[in-house]
Symmetry: C2
């Protein structure tokens, strides 16, 4: 008799796991049932801001694979609009509510794949009946926001609350749609994924676009008029608006796991071993935005919800469930984004992370250009490196620049991944031609500056 | 009394060495004399095609640092238009001819920096009195070609001989100036710096631009009329033209070294140790396009004339001459170029190199896109990887793509530099956001495909 894999959550991690398991075990060996409470499988949440801006015209472009593909090509019993409400580890059963048809189903499992993702952080003040307040996690969130922006009376002003990647991307999307946009950030600066000196460059670019940035300010409530949001309330007074977008980040969606007795790690997300197995809980696996993973530089568990990790982790879990062997090697915190033409990349530790991990380090900032100075389109690029002292080992890197900047972080990410020192990095054989780099690539210039900074300390 | 450093050749390598030596030793300790037979110090030869095309309007933009800067800021006695004609290692003297003023000077040295660069390969048939035949190594070459292109009667047709980087870039430059361009390549295909399957993509793009590519064809002579070149002669008949550009590559400029008894390596270039010292010849150093260096993947000495290596090597030599410590770590053959919008990157070994070095390997080609498929501007990208079997160690990589492709080679170059296996590479934490990459970056997709190919062999 076939064994049974139940997948809880049918987005990137869950469906990657399911399809990898299927590649290795056919249906006579393994039945696969995937429960997804939403309307879609495997869509690109990261693409939503570009759909809002209109750059991506059609919602369906964001759907990587539709449920029918999983059903017919992978023989996976995908059940959309089914919310798993309970997991019984002793009886090896899940209970799911049919959100569309009503009623409840109960399914036994031999193996459980927990991939519930993350839930947006929603403060108390955001729970309101007023129209015009939007999260932006799901395609339905995006659709609701788009409808609101297009319906009469047309919103003219927007407030984005939260200045992380999604907040910044949404601020850009809304200003591109012609709204007047204010971004409110509780911390001293938005874009806290990079150090403050680098974030300043991003904030400058945002202001250049016409976005009003209000940092060091908390939203404490909403005002409404005729059932529509009319302002966000702050300690510095109300900010009038016609639409509020929440970009306050996410937390791992672990309520169900906690209730079932699946242990969490110190980050608050689910702890997994290298093969994406939940340690101490037999035949339960987890992957994606609901798990924590090893930061290879700090050695600490971290929760970094990102589609690229979810896909890799799901794949690893699925290979293992399928009887193969794969491990997830951890993360180093690489991320890229853009604010219109300004590109931002980061990898490894920021200054505060490095200090928290106990490292001593130097940090240097160097200025260079994307191309040979004389080549048309050469634009400024700022590279920041953190290097451990006295070893010179790279600990983190950040890049901000006006073109061909963001993906240069990959060069630094691979150096970091391999534990290179900044001394070693000065020798790297990187591509050189005038349209692509100065004869000393910005990465090499930055490494040389870090070497000089370490030498100046006498190490 | 001060010691004396004589620099033979005042371009990138020589002047980098001179200025690094000066940073560590002042003039009371070290006199520095630099002889340069040309009119300039430290110019960007790689930029010449873009000056010819008009993209870079002004010749002086290609000059990185003028002689006056070296004289005043670095206290280096730069003597332009002085060709060193002899080196006497026993008497520790060089003899130089003053090409402008006439006469000869004789200067003693304690330390010699040999940085004569490379000389363009010029076949017998190219030695002609006819006007309209140009090399493109020096700024004066470039100026002569520009004058020819602008003078009456205006050339309408061009033949570029040689399909390496410079040949391809010159073909593009000339077609951008509105000429009818034929590129003649002796080998079966131009762009032999990448494997034939990848070169085919480049040739396709060149043809798309309107460049006529004649491969597998040798030029054997020239025809002229009224003192002007009128055709190149080939086995398949003459190709009429108004201008001929030679892009046949370069060879190390070692005549002077050979005459002086400085030993050459197996590549025909000067052999140096890790500190850029000529082994067995006291106080003689060499760097730049005249030396050979270690290929870190094949372990063999190679001659790869490229500005980025020349700058690094010169710097290393200068630090050592200055009493510091630095080594040159070798190269892995990274290079990038473009043919209009088509970008090409390569690193490590091609198939023929890997076979020649005795490696067994698999090679895979994968197709992907530069950005998330749904993001505007996503363009196809082809990545080829060579991986050793059974180890899976990356041996080489090539990328051809329509945007954001060339500099992605750096990611692979750093992986190669660190000896990563393709298995390890599938785990890399690379930057992901829809404007910059699909959720599986092209590099990761390629690595996965290589892993699959190795697995299929049963390893």
């Amino acid at each position: 008799m076939a064994q049974r894999l139940i997948v809880v959550g049918g987005d990137a991690a869950g469906m990657a796991a399911a399809s990898q398991a299927r590649r290795r075990r056919d249906r006579r060996d393994l039945e696969i049932v995937a429960f997804e409470r939403g309307h879609f499988t495997s869509y690109s949440a990261c693409g939503i801001p570009y759909w809002i801006s209109g750059l991506v015209p059609d919602r369906d472009q964001l759907i990587a694979r539709d449920p029918e593909t999983f059903r017919t090509d992978f023989d996976i019993d995908v059940r959309l609009r089914h919310e798993v409400t309970g997991i019984d580890l002793d009886r090896r059963e899940v209970v799911a509510r049919d959100l569309a048809g009503g009623g409840e189903v109960r399914e036994r499992f031999d193996t459980l794949m927990y991939a519930t993702g993350a839930v947006p952080i929603k403060p108390d003040w955001a729970h309101t009946d007023a129209g015009g307040v939007f999260g932006i996690q799901t395609l339905n969130d995006g659709a609701a926001l788009r409808d609101w922006l297009e319906a009469e009376p047309k919103p003219r002003r927007a407030v984005v609350v939260g200045g992380g990647y999604i907040g910044v991307e949404m601020a850009e999307a809304l200003i591109q749609r012609g709204l007047t946009v204010t971004l409110v950030e509780k911390a001293a600066q938005p874009m806290s994924t990079v150090d403050e000196d680098m974030a300043e460059l991003v904030v400058g670019a945002m202001r250049g676009l016409g976005i009003t940035v209000r940092a060091g300010l908390s939203v404490t409530g909403l005002e409404q008029r005729d059932g529509r949001v009319s302002a966000v309330v702050t300690a510095e007074g109300p900010i009038p608006t016609d639409v509020v977008v929440l970009g306050l980040g996410v937390r791992p969606n672990v309520a169900l796991a906690e209730a079932a007795g699946i242990p969490l790690g110190p980050s608050g997300a689910i702890r997994v071993d290298r093969r994406m197995r939940v340690p101490g809980v037999e035949d339960v696996w987890a992957a994606g935005d609901c798990v924590e993973c090893l930061h290879r530089v700090s050695g600490m568990p971290v929760h970094i919800p990102l589609g690229t990790h979810a896909n890799k982790q799901g794949r690893v879990a699925g290979i293992n469930i399928g009887g193969g062997y794969a491990t997830f090697a951890g993360v180093i915190g690489t991320a890229v984004t853009k604010v219109c033409e300004l590109e931002v990349g980061r990898t490894g530790l920021r200054e505060r992370d490095a200090a928290a991990a106990g490292f001593e380090f130097v940090s240097v900032i160097s200025e260079s250009t994307s191309r040979a100075g004389y080549y048309p389109g050469a634009r400024p690029m700022t590279v920041k490196l953190l290097a451990e002292k006295p070893s010179g080992r790279l600990l983190g890197a950040q890049i901000v620049g006006w073109s061909e900047a963001a993906k240069r972080i990959d060069t630094l990410a691979v150096a970091l991944w391999n534990g290179m020192t900044v001394d070693d990095m000065t020798a790297l054989d990187l591509g050189y031609a005038p349209p692509y780099a100065p004869v000393w690539d910005p990465v090499l210039i930055a490494a040389r500056k870090a070497v000089d900074a370490l030498a100046a300390l006498g190490r």
